[in-house]
């Protein structure tokens, strides 16, 4: 059994006033193995973010099922969901979502504090994480005092510190310049090599080229996927951009 299984997920939004129905996801099925780094690509409006929200248990699918490590997300009660999210999932957002009233250190510790961990154990976990992410000297600063790239590293540290089963990243490079992007993605790859499972939603070819596998979503369904295998990053980059050209040109279903 795969680590993360998405089975026939459908999501239909009903607009509040007119009652019109919009199908954001029609039928999405895929699975992720433990230790994989998967990128989900697609144009704006293809349903990427909806999919990620469903994976994060922030939103419920209209039909279908998501199973993480043998546990179906739809079986969780409202109360359990927060705790589940806290202990199993780590999030990295496009706009960082750091809290301005906490120092960098406190931002990273936040999820641990919320789950009621003792301070000594938190401090023990903090050290290796900040070393991996090269932010050890930023700990006493505040989010408004550091650069975008640094902020995103802090956000990654916050996601990693809970030792989650799965990291969900939503356009993590969206607000970064190319240099900061590359360095962040290298970090992702590094973390992944150490065994961390990552699912990243992006529309940046560069970002996706760091992943082990790329899923392409079009019109609410998985349209195609690419495996890296032994390919170099440059080859991967070219193949992704070719696929995207086909995708935008409106080719048939290859999945």
């Amino acid at each position: 059994m795969a680590f993360l299984t998405v089975k026939g997920v459908q999501k239909i939004y009903t607009t509040r006033f007119s009652g019109n129905q919009t199908e954001a996801l029609s039928h999405v099925t895929f699975s992720v193995e433990k230790g994989e780094f998967v990128a989900v690509m697609g144009e704006s409006g293809s349903g990427k973010t909806t999919l990620l929200n469903i994976l994060a248990a922030l939103d419920q699918p209209t039909a279908g099922e998501v199973v993480l490590d043998g546990k179906s997300l739809s079986s969780l009660s409202d109360r359990e969901i927060s705790a589940f999210r806290r202990s199993n999932l780590g999030f990295v957002f496009q706009d960082f979502n750091l809290l301005d009233n906490f120092s960098v250190k406190d931002n990273i510790l936040l999820p641990l504090v919320l789950s009621g961990m003792a301070y000594e154990s938190m401090a023990k976990r903090l050290k290796p994480v900040v070393l991996t992410l090269h932010i050890a000297d930023l700990l006493d600063k505040y989010p408004y005092e550091i650069s975008g790239g640094q902020k995103q590293r802090v956000a990654v540290a916050r996601a990693l510190i809970t030792e989650p089963k799965l990291i969900l990243a939503d356009e993590p490079t969206g607000a970064l310049d190319s240099k900061a992007s590359e360095s962040l993605l290298q970090t992702f790859a590094e973390v992944n090599r150490a065994g961390q499972t990552i699912v990243m939603v992006t529309h940046s070819t560069l970002a996706a080229s760091y992943a082990g596998r790329v899923l392409f979503i079009k019109d609410g369904a998985v349209f195609h996927q690419l495996y890296r295998g032994e390919k170099s990053r440059e080859t991967m980059f070219r193949e992704i951009s070719d696929t995207l050209t086909v995708l935008t040109a409106g080719g048939g279903n290859h999945a």
């Binding site: 929200n53 969901i81 009233n101 919320l114 789950s115 301070y119 916050r158």
Partner: protein
């Protein structure tokens, strides 16, 4: 750029930002109404007809000044919050090609429009509210109160002046902030937290000094008239001290909490402590405002309620008997005629004499050189100085008769009593004569008279009338024409209706002259004065309740405004918190603990202020012939309890409203 364009841009801005501006406008309108009402009450001609109008007016003017200062601080506080939210917009205008002077012009028009709205709504609201509260209270008290309803042009003018000045200052501060920053800074300034303030020892020290000064005035100034003149200073010092300590003290306190890792890194402490530090300055001013308003309410209510409840006691102290006659003489022949007249007066009005009493006394002012020396000084400017003491003497024989006691005095011995001075053991010198205090007694009949006089007093029972005469001669020699005569008190009780009582007193006042003596005299009737005093104290109670309603409204408004506006600011914070895995119940718990801290600090401080203000207030109340410390303490306690309950209700409601705002769904 054309003026008209800037003007309408300003109007547009206000409309667009109405969610931000509405609470600000509401509070400025209510402040204007409040200030108008207080000014109009101070100038109310109805007050003039009240006894003790001078004191009331002095207190009211003081109150108006405090409220004015308070309003300026309050508007600065709320406006600062607004401006922070708008910096980004100004940055955008700047980038779109508006020069700073144009933005300043927009700001100017905005301020002008806000000012106009404030005054156009505030003053009519003040007039209406004035009338409304007046009618409601009149109903509640069921008494006639000598305060009429009127429109006061002077009050309106003062209100316009105060608010025009405040808004001008607000505008200038806005321009100053604009000049200090470049567009890039403006664009992102909303996100930048207030710099974590350093624990400012100088401010904390100054705060302690101010508070100490204010507290000192209350604790150590003994003369009620001096208390009255220094009260305003004390109030100002305490207000300043409160603000300073709240800003400097809260920093130190929260930092201490933060340093304690075991405490700080718990889920709800973590979020509330960091949230409070983030907005420390704002919080300090807001909490200070709430604290000061609460203190004012508590002080006014407990004082006026205590006066009202102590009325009967004050009356029976001032008028121990139904009909009182004071004659400036000590003469057995006169004694007989006054008694005779009383019997005639009572029986002529169908009443029966049930009890009569009389004693001769001497009362004059002296200068207290040191603890046990009271000397005579001829300069009369000394009234109001703290060392002026009113002395009262009667014979021990008459003391015994009054109380049914059996005290015996040897040569040069006295019985002594004072409610406001601590008399030494042993020997004292009065006007050059040496006396030995044989015993300190709890009361003397003249204490009631002394209570009406605002200076400290001491009463003595001396061996015999010869001593009285010696003292009389001594003070006559120094004071000359201003010397006090020997006086005789006659008191009569008789059963009868209010009209009978009044008629009997009037009869005596008219016929005492018929007996052929020429000494000055006055006749007082308890029932007649009771009506006067009741309406006077009713007036005080009315003022107290009226102003309390006003201040409580203001305090609730601030609390609510503070929580709502911060709720909108905190909303995004809580969104993020929910994204990283905080559930609803935890959000609720955090909100509760955060608001709890914010709420109960001011209440406790107000309680402390009230406690320390008690000595000063008890002394001030003696100006209104009330010297009952227990009653005052009781009133203060009850007021505090009731206020705390009300406060708690507001807290619950506010916490709920705040929670509604921040709980909003995380993402789509």
């Amino acid at each position: 750029m054309r003026k008209r364009f800037l003007f309408s841009l300003a109007a547009d801005n206000l409309k667009k930002n109405r969610r931000l501006y509405l609470p600000f406008l509401l509070s400025s309108v209510l402040s204007a109404a409040m200030f108008y009402i207080i000014c109009s009450l101070t100038g109310n001609t109805g007050l003039d007809s009240m006894m003790g109008a001078d004191v009331v007016k002095a207190v009211m003017q003081m109150g108006a000044a405090v409220v004015a200062i308070f309003i300026v601080i309050f508007l600065f506080y709320t406006n600062r919050f607004l401006m922070r939210r708008r910096q980004k917009e100004f940055g955008l205008f700047h980038i779109l090609g508006m020069e700073k002077k144009h933005i300043a012009a927009v700001l100017f028009f905005e301020s002008g429009q806000l000012l106009a709205l404030t005054l156009l709504c505030g003053i009519p609201a003040g007039i209406l509210l004035d009338k409304l509260i007046y009618l409601v209270l009149l109903r509640l008290m069921g008494a006639s109160v000598p305060l009429g309803f009127s429109f006061s042009g002077k009050a309106a003018a003062l209100t316009v002046l105060l608010f025009a000045l405040t808004f001008l200052l607000l505008f200038l501060r806005g321009v100053f902030q604009l000049r200090a920053q470049n567009p890039a800074q403006l664009l992102k300034s909303e996100a930048v937290g207030e710099k974590e303030p350093k624990a400012r020892w100088f401010m904390a020290l100054l705060g302690i000094l101010c508070l100490g000064g204010g507290y000192g005035i209350s604790l150590f100034v003994e003369n009620p008239l001096q208390v009255l003149s220094l009260f305003f200073v004390a109030v100002m010092l305490v207000i300043l001290g409160t603000y300073l300590l709240f800003s400097a003290g809260s920093v130190a306190f929260l930092k201490l909490l933060k340093k304690n890792k075991k405490y700080y890194y718990r889920p709800n402490h973590f979020i509330s402590v960091s949230g409070l530090i983030y907005r420390m300055k704002q919080n300090a001013v807001g909490l200070g405002n709430i604290c000061i308003l609460s203190t004012m309410v508590l002080v006014m209510l407990s004082a006026t309620i205590c006066l009202w409840l102590g009325l009967d006691q004050a009356l029976s102290q001032q008028y121990p008997q139904d009909i009182t006659v004071l004659v400036d003489a000590a003469d057995p022949d006169i004694d007989r005629t006054v008694d005779q007249c009383a019997v005639t007066a009572l029986s002529a009005n169908g009443m029966r004499l049930t009890e009569k009493n009389s004693y001769t006394y001497l009362s004059f002012t002296s200068y207290q050189e040191n603890e046990n020396t009271f000397s005579l000084r001829a300069d009369y400017s000394m009234a109001g100085q703290s060392r002026t003491v009113n002395l009262f003497f009667m014979t021990v024989a008459e003391y015994n008769r009054w109380y049914g006691a059996g005290e015996q005095l040897g040569e040069g011995e006295v019985l002594a009593c004072s409610s406001r001075l601590t008399l030494p053991e042993g020997t004292i010198r009065i006007a050059g004569e040496a006396f030995t205090i044989r015993k300190i007694v709890p009361e003397m009949p003249a204490e009631g008279n002394a209570a009406m006089i605002s200076m400290p007093s001491a009463c003595f029972a001396v061996k015999d009338e010869a001593v009285l005469r010696t003292l009389y001669d001594k003070q006559k020699a120094v004071y000359g024409d201003n010397a006090s005569p020997l006086q005789t008190y006659y008191g009569y009780d008789g059963e009868g209706s209010e009209t009978q009582q009044k008629a009997a007193a009037e009869f005596m006042a008219a016929h005492l002259n018929d007996y052929g003596w020429t000494a000055d005299y006055q006749v007082r009737s308890r029932v007649a004065s009771e009506t006067d005093v009741r309406s006077l104290y009713g007036g005080f109670l009315f003022l107290g309740i009226f102003l309390s309603i006003l201040f409580v409204t203001a305090a609730i408004l601030i609390i609510y405004y503070k929580q709502i506006s911060e709720g909108y600011e905190d909303r995004s914070r809580f969104e993020i918190l929910q994204k990283v895995g905080m559930d609803r119940a935890e959000v609720k718990k955090t909100v509760r603990s955060q608001i709890l801290l914010v709420f109960f600090l001011p209440l406790l401080t107000a309680g402390l202020h009230l406690t320390v203000a008690m000595p000063a207030l008890i002394r001030l109340l003696t100006l209104f012939s009330l010297s009952n410390a227990q009653l005052f303490v009781l009133c203060a306690l009850v007021c505090f309890a009731v206020f705390a309950v009300l406060y708690f209700i507001v807290y619950t409601l506010t916490a709920k409203a705040y929670y509604q705002i921040v709980k909003a769904e995380p993402v789509s």
